[in-house]
Symmetry: C3
Subunit: 160 residues, 3 copies
């Protein structure tokens, strides 16, 4: 088979699931595949900048509240099990470091370096009040139709 394509919808904002998504994506890209990651709902938190950003258009009260409560970027994500009020994630990161597992910020950088297409779901951004200027650089912005177009060209499509 020639170069093939993979798509991953990153719906989850849990550290463990997002890491799994990037490990699969980077593995496929390393094997020569085209990879598209589509970040939607909680998955968008992965792409947020760590620092507070001046935004151009005011958020609604509820959007601002979501913004305050949701984790600001890859370093702040919790884990889906045994989170222990936030202690689970640092513990998991510590043991990953001991085992020389690449951290999530490094996995994201590798994804960029390998030319993985990272798309932020614009409809979810509207709902959660997340603005382009709050997200990392190098993303594309699109909706479900774009995702479906990519998936139609791919031979593996995952929802994580």
């Amino acid at each position: 088979m020639d170069t093939t394509k993979k798509t991953i919808i990153v719906f989850s904002g849990d550290l463990d699931k997002v890491m799994a998504a990037f490990i699969i994506a980077n593995g496929a890209a390393a094997m020569g595949d085209d990879v598209t990651m589509f970040f939607t709902f909680w998955g968008l938190n992965t792409l947020r900048k760590a620092e507070k950003v001046q935004i151009k258009t005011k958020k609604s009260f509820l959007q601002a509240m979501f913004g305050w409560m949701m984790p600001r970027g890859a370093d702040k994500l919790g884990i889906s099990k045994m989170n222990f009020g936030g202690m689970g994630a640092p513990m998991m990161k510590m043991v990953m470091k001991q085992q020389n597992v690449t951290s999530l910020p490094e996995l994201i950088q590798t994804a960029k370096d390998q030319g993985i297409k990272m798309i932020a779901c614009t409809m979810s951004m509207d709902v959660m009040g997340i603005r382009e200027e709050e997200l990392m650089d190098g993303l594309e912005y699109a909706g479900v139709a774009t995702y479906l177009g990519e998936a139609d060209e791919a031979n593996v499509n995952l929802f994580i």
Copy 2:
């Protein structure tokens, strides 16, 4: 490529995940694809009628208990994160309304109008004691073999 087919297993009963499933399904149907949604486990709650229904065969005690505790239909689903004892879902719905995002009941109606095939998993219905008369009209009833037959004809298969 001609018309292609998509299948989505809706295992989750969380408002946010179920909405994602219907947004993808409706998007694909709007682009001319055949779409099959297979509702199993908690996903079945999406299809429950809002009102209590007279059923023909008695439920076991445990089934009745599951029935009482599980959400009765699309309007009652909670969200997978920041549910805040049930407050998260109304907040999410409010912000979606502000952003003119179609509500879940409307998404379901659109799915029906577009001819999306919605299958309720009969094995899960047996386990949870959910009867046909408790679910919305227009569904098909089948098991895993039917799902697999549909998936074999599809080019995108998601588990949500």
Copy 3:
């Protein structure tokens, strides 16, 4: 279509999700498909032996802690919703038994009998400090590249 192939990533360690994975896998195998299940992160707990095992290389403190806290095998898994501090799983098992639904340990045995390839993710094993001697017999051990090779040959690939 000839015999086709299916892959399932079992990321979740929740009884309900793991059962769904095995029901789909066994269904496909019964229809003549090749099936590969790739167990990673919490999904690995499904494969743990119920008894404490003498291991060859010492675990780090954090790994040992994960080991103590994570469920030891298919019989110990909780459910993803309405777990009620562990009571949900026995209740779910009881009602499944009433409905003559095959139990998870039986589903796993059927999967083995049908020749389903079960792969334990070595990277996750390293992170969680899970050793081969702690897992059931008859598994293969590999990483993401092996998964991707299998997925490239399959027509249905799910992430559960």
